[in-house]
């Protein structure tokens, strides 16, 4: 089997903190590997090791068959990196940012200009291309950042929390772009805090916590392990809790539960469950004051896998943006 990148037993400590404690992962060529974990779990550190920015204390990593430590310059020629915070030069225009990268990659001036114009076009930035990147919106900046990492047509792309802090529309745009790239044969390592994002984009997911891989597999396998969507209902009259439970249980089957705080919850195995429940409740004359369908959040994944909630600790690495917890988009409907 051919891997675009792979890591074995990566260990990295910063002072007293062990950021990576033996991380193994691998991605087949032309696939997306989702690296899922909360803040401080070691996602960014993993990316920085694979992108040759950090030397691991132990373990090895290969990108395109090349060792990230011993053959770092050759690895750099194959990769694109888009950081957690948009690493574009705010004082250059969008065009100049891309021109600079092209020139650094050894393109002639005309070729670098052509490539920059091409990428601006592709990312719908042509109009804004003449403005300083500092004036761009968050979504535009991420697109420019991604464009900058694509100037050299990399075979492997590292996307470190590419949608953190983006509004849902910009996030969907970015997802489409990533799908397009994968369609062209690019292999992607995507780190994210959002189960939904990993579910949407990744062929395989690796879940890490405290620098260790705690689970891995396809999104479906992982969801089966931790549970998919959950339907929750609250009867308007508390004494009807058992009646409502009876209706839901007859449709949803095993796993339907009554919670002490007056909710009925049921695992959703079929998209037709919710309309069926609504129709049946209406027939029975039962009124619910609350009806919701929600996906498993990362928090629930962690609770299931580790028995503890996501530990909110800041990345200890220097230069990591502490503000990345902002705008958590819950996986939901």
């Amino acid at each position: 089997m051919s891997y675009a990148f792979q890591a074995e037993g990566l260990v990295k400590s910063f002072k007293e903190t062990r950021a990576l404690d033996g991380v193994d992962l691998a991605a087949r060529t032309g696939t997306v590997l989702g690296l899922l974990g909360p803040n401080g779990s070691g996602k960014t550190t993993t990316v920085r090791v694979l992108a040759t920015l950090l030397r691991p204390d132990a373990g090895r990593a290969l990108v395109g068959g090349l060792d990230v430590v011993r053959q770092a310059p050759a690895v750099r020629a194959q990769i694109g990196l888009t950081g957690q915070y948009a690493a574009v030069d705010e004082m250059l225009t969008g065009f100049e940012n891309l021109l600079m990268i092209g020139r650094l990659l050894g393109l002639s001036r005309p070729d670098a200009r052509k490539r920059a114009a091409e990428l601006l076009e592709r990312f719908a930035l042509t109009e804004a291309g003449g403005r300083a990147a500092g004036t761009f919106s968050g979504g535009m900046r991420r697109r420019l950042d991604l464009a900058a990492s694509l100037v050299g047509r990399p075979q492997v792309l590292f996307l470190d929390e590419p949608t953190t802090g983006l509004d849902p529309h910009s996030r969907n745009e970015l997802w489409e772009i990533v799908r397009g790239l994968v369609g062209e044969g690019v292999t992607v390592l995507l780190t994210t805090q959002y189960l939904e994002e990993a579910d949407q984009l990744a062929d395989e997911i690796v879940v890490i916590d405290k620098g260790r891989v705690i689970a891995g597999g396809t999104p479906d396998a992982l969801k089966a392990q931790v549970g998919g969507q959950v339907l929750e209902l609250r009867p308007q009259r508390a004494e009807q809790l058992e009646l409502v439970y009876g209706v839901v249980a007859s449709l949803a089957g095993t796993g339907t539960e009554m919670t002490p705080n007056g909710l009925v919850s049921a695992p959703v195995r079929d998209v037709a469950l919710m309309p069926a429940v609504v129709a049946r409740l209406e027939q029975a004359g039962l009124v619910v004051s609350e009806l919701s369908l929600r996906g498993s959040s990362l928090d629930e994944v962690f609770l299931t896998l580790t028995g503890h909630r996501t530990a909110v600790t800041d990345e200890t690495e220097p230069g990591v943006d502490a503000g990345s917890e902002a705008a958590t988009v819950k996986a939901g409907v």
């Binding site: 691998a26 950081g83 650094l104």
Partner: protein, 268 residues
């Protein structure tokens, strides 16, 4: 997961050649200079600040210090240029620090370019800005009645300032690497550069100062630099202060170049 033992073929490490390295440095120098176009504040730093210092010192202090603004300008231009030039070395630290904080530095380091290019490009661009500011001050000085001793002296003075600024750059690279943020770097500018440049022969004759201060002023490298620049610009004993200044520059570079490189490589 990756269960197969990882083996990398012994492909060439792909080191970057000297010519390509120079090309990378040139591109990053361009990048640091073209920023000015989109950042009027930086143009202020480079142009308005030197002009302002020159005008304020000449017209506010001139009459009191030397009896006439013209005589003071003749005396103080070297000092004003040195003060401005030393403050300007802080741009290296601020620029590098902001590149690190914003992630631009990581982007550059993830590219297959010469390791030295991000540093060299920054330092080269900042030296270019130094020369621009100095020419601006010399031009304005000339317009206001400053009369240098000769062209060779002016060229020598500019060159000496560039050499000294280059040595200082490595200290600033270190500061930029280890500082938490750009604001801290600016603070350093005020608490170190202000006393350092004022407690020198830059603006007044040393003999007017109290004895204990004179003792410090005489060993302050800024005094050597100012004396050398002044001698080159308007005449006086040149050799002693120039040699002193070059020795200081060499000493600063010998100490801070390795420290700066070590800090840089520790990030690699």
């Amino acid at each position: 997961m990756a269960t197969a033992t990882l083996t990398a073929p012994t492909a060439p490490a792909g080191r970057v050649g000297l010519l390509a390295g120079l090309q990378h440095t040139a591109t990053l120098t361009w990048r640091n200079l073209v920023q000015i176009k989109h950042n009027p504040m930086e143009l202020m730093d480079l142009s308005v600040q030197p002009i302002m210092f020159l005008l304020l010192f000449t017209y506010v202090f001139g009459g009191q210090m030397s009896g006439s603004t013209h005589a003071y300008l003749q005396f103080a231009l070297a000092g004003i240029m040195v003060q401005n030039g030393l403050f300007a070395t802080l741009t290296t630290a601020v620029g590098l620090n902001s590149d690190i904080q914003k992630g631009v530095f990581d982007r550059l380091r993830s590219l297959p370019i010469a390791r030295s290019a991000p540093l060299a490009g920054r330092v080269a661009a900042d030296l270019g800005k130094q020369v621009w500011s100095m020419l601006l001050m010399l031009g304005l000085g000339l317009a206001l009645g400053f009369r240098p001793d000769g062209v060779a002296g002016v060229v020598g003075a500019v060159a000496l300032m560039v050499v000294f600024a280059l040595a200082m750059s490595w200290m600033m690279v270190l500061v930029g690497m280890v500082a938490e943020n750009a604001e801290k770097v600016q603070m350093l500018g005020f608490v170190v550069m202000f006393p350092l440049t004022f407690s020198s022969s830059a603006f007044v004759s040393v003999s007017s100062m109290p004895g204990w201060l004179q003792a410090w002023v005489k060993v302050n490298p800024v005094t050597s630099l100012v004396d050398a620049m002044r001698a080159l610009l308007v005449g006086g004993p040149v050799q002693g202060p120039v040699v002193h200044t070059l020795l200081w520059a060499a000493a600063i570079a010998v100490v801070f170049f390795p420290l700066a490189l070590r800090a840089y490589q520790r990030r690699s």
